[in-house]
């Protein structure tokens, strides 16, 4: 199995997993807060914030990458062309997917349930953890899966802002791109690995959603 990929390819796989997981960790809490605010707020700023969040999703990734490079170049030169730059690029392009999926899930919850919990003395945090989270669990897991898949497949922005440095910032898509460019290198093991990782992620998310449903049912019996 180890011979299936060479050492540099294993490094790319490990880096992709590290980058995508760190990106999810980075966006999880802000996405929850934003999704909750967007689902419930009646503020006039809502439309502006909504538009800003979606921008990275609709812009060409290269433009996002150039924008980030300029930004990181200004605020901290050391971050550009490091794996942290890849994390930031992945986080920015995947966050809209998590926010929008989660927001749709929260919007389906009867807001009066949260009001009932508040009248029973629950703090906003407790309302979120005990009412909102269990009620939007499938949307949260689905949103994380989508966002994570987007993060692990991120190419354009990462290439611009983190470069394609083997062993340092070369993730699976960048490694595949390099293999494809160089004659004689076999791209299919990495491609197959990507497919297996994606399938595993979908399987795990389905299990988590089912577990959430069973937990609800068992808790309620």
């Amino acid at each position: 199995m180890l011979a299936f990929l060479n050492s540099s390819e294993w490094t790319a796989v490990a880096l992709s997993l590290k980058v995508s997981v760190c990106a999810m960790a980075m966006i999880l809490v802000p996405s929850m807060l934003l999704a909750t605010w967007l689902a419930r707020s009646t503020s006039r700023l809502k439309a502006c914030v909504d538009t800003l969040i979606v921008v990275p999703l609709v812009l060409p990734p290269v433009i996002v990458g150039i924008g980030l490079l300029v930004l990181l170049g200004n605020v901290g030169q050391s971050l550009a062309f490091t794996w942290w730059a890849a994390v930031i690029a992945s986080a920015i392009v995947s966050m809209p997917l998590l926010v929008r999926t989660l927001r749709a899930g929260i919007e389906t919850i009867d807001p009066r349930l949260q009001q009932v919990a508040t009248t029973l003395g629950a703090s906003p945090f407790r309302v979120w953890m005990t009412i909102t989270l269990p009620q939007c669990w499938p949307a949260l897991v689905g949103g994380i899966t989508l966002a994570w898949a987007r993060a692990i497949g991120e190419f354009g922005a990462t290439l611009i802002v983190a470069g394609n440095i083997e062993g340092k910032t070369q993730t699976i898509p960048l490694a595949m791109y390099t293999h494809w460019q160089v004659e004689g290198r076999n791209v299919w093991p990495l491609a197959l690995t990507s497919v297996l990782i994606a399938l595993a992620a979908v399987f795990v998310s389905e299990c988590l959603i089912r577990k959430g449903r069973n937990h609800k049912t068992n808790a309620a019996r």
């Binding site: 349930l113 009001q115 009248t119 003395g121 629950a122 808790a219 309620a220 019996r221």
Partner: protein
């Protein structure tokens, strides 16, 4: 004591309320869209009025002049919404104990006993019937140790029998836990049954406040087209005496009534209902009637307009009796008149299937 003085702009009118409520149970009556729920939301802190003050006993919940606005979660107001709104991912027990973290209030066991929730505790909240869900919602609010209990049309969506049964449980709860309660409803009979005082709202304005039996006169003169069908709902103790086939005997206090009913074995305390229009009044005791009930009563209130007259008659409970104005004049009825109250056994309906705890 609850003191509410507020203004809030709604879509089509401004809610303007200036009330001092000291009765144990106050009904808020009015048609849909008259501002009843908004009033409760303001008291609970779920929405804020533009101006005004809300005060419970010596605590300011809201005061625009003093810039006081206590957060909803700190007001200790038990709020039962329409449809109950249980947390359906939790058990009945988890719903009931949701608030029990830093508040002391009624004992869990006592609330479970009064609302007869013992058999439901480990059941999924999503697998309850409509009536069971309302009982759990009421229990959940009571167990939050509220300083004020708000019930917003808690019988919405229930069928007639379940509605009567749930009403009886609500009465048991109010009797057992003795906390100031605001009960919102558009049913006069429910308010007469439960409340010591009533506030009438119309298009955001308070158009009346007083004892519930006085509400009828106000309604009759204010809006005749929307005059409701009047029902008398009253507690009844079924006696073990079997009257005759197809009927049972119920105790009203000083006198008894025969009620058309089947299969009442093991049932003692029930809630019964009779329409005001199904009751006949007589000056003299009639004979040769098929009606099974001829009760003695005294008129304690008369509300009359050009066409209709409603007499409140003390037969144990106070029954509203609907008669025509000409009948009232011919019989020379007045407050204090002794009358005979005639009602068919089949006109009295039992509203519940099981015995509520009293």
């Amino acid at each position: 004591m609850l003191r509410v003085n507020l203004q809030k702009q709604l879509e089509s009118f401004t809610l303007r309320v200036d009330l001092t409520l000291s009765a144990r149970v106050t009904g808020v009556f009015g048609p849909s869209g008259s501002g009843k729920t908004t009033l409760l939301n303001c008291i609970a802190g779920l929405t804020n009025p533009k101006d005004g003050a809300i005060r419970v006993d010596d605590t300011d919940f809201f005061d625009s002049s003093k810039r006081i606005n206590v957060a909803c979660r700190q007001r200790q107001v038990g709020y039962v919404f329409q449809e109950g709104l249980l947390f359906d991912h939790l058990t009945v027990r988890q719903n009931l104990t949701y608030s029990r973290h830093d508040r002391t209030g009624p004992a869990f066991e006592q609330v479970v006993e009064v609302l007869e929730l013992g058999a439901l505790l480990e059941r999924s909240a999503r697998h309850l019937s409509g009536g069971e869900a309302r009982r759990v919602a009421i229990g959940r609010a009571i167990l939050s140790a509220p300083r004020l209990l708000l019930l917003d049309e808690p019988l919405t969506g229930l069928d007639r029998r379940m509605s009567g049964k749930t009403l009886s449980y609500i009465r048991s709860v109010l009797d057992a836990f003795n906390m100031q309660t605001i009960y919102v409803s558009h049913s006069i009979s429910d308010i007469v049954y439960l409340c010591d005082e009533v506030v009438v709202l119309s298009d955001g304005e308070v158009v009346g406040q007083g004892i519930p039996t006085e509400l009828l006169g106000t309604m009759a003169s204010a809006d005749r087209d929307r005059l409701p069908v009047l029902k008398n709902i009253f507690p009844l103790t079924i006696l073990p005496t079997k009257a005759e086939e197809g009927t049972v005997v119920g105790d009203l206090g000083d006198q008894t009534v025969e009620v058309g009913a089947r299969a009442v074995t093991g049932r003692r305390n029930v809630t019964a209902m009779v329409y005001a229009r199904d009751i006949i009044l007589a000056n003299q005791k009639p004979t040769g009637l098929s009606a099974r009930n001829i009760l003695c009563g005294r008129i304690v209130r008369l509300d009359a307009d050009d066409g209709r007259c409603v007499a409140s008659v003390d037969v144990g409970p106070h029954w509203m009796v609907e008669i025509t104005r000409s009948a009232m004049d011919e019989m020379q009825l007045k407050v204090g008149s002794d009358v005979y109250v005639i009602v068919k056994a089949s006109a009295i309906q039992l509203l519940e299937n099981s015995e509520p705890t009293r």
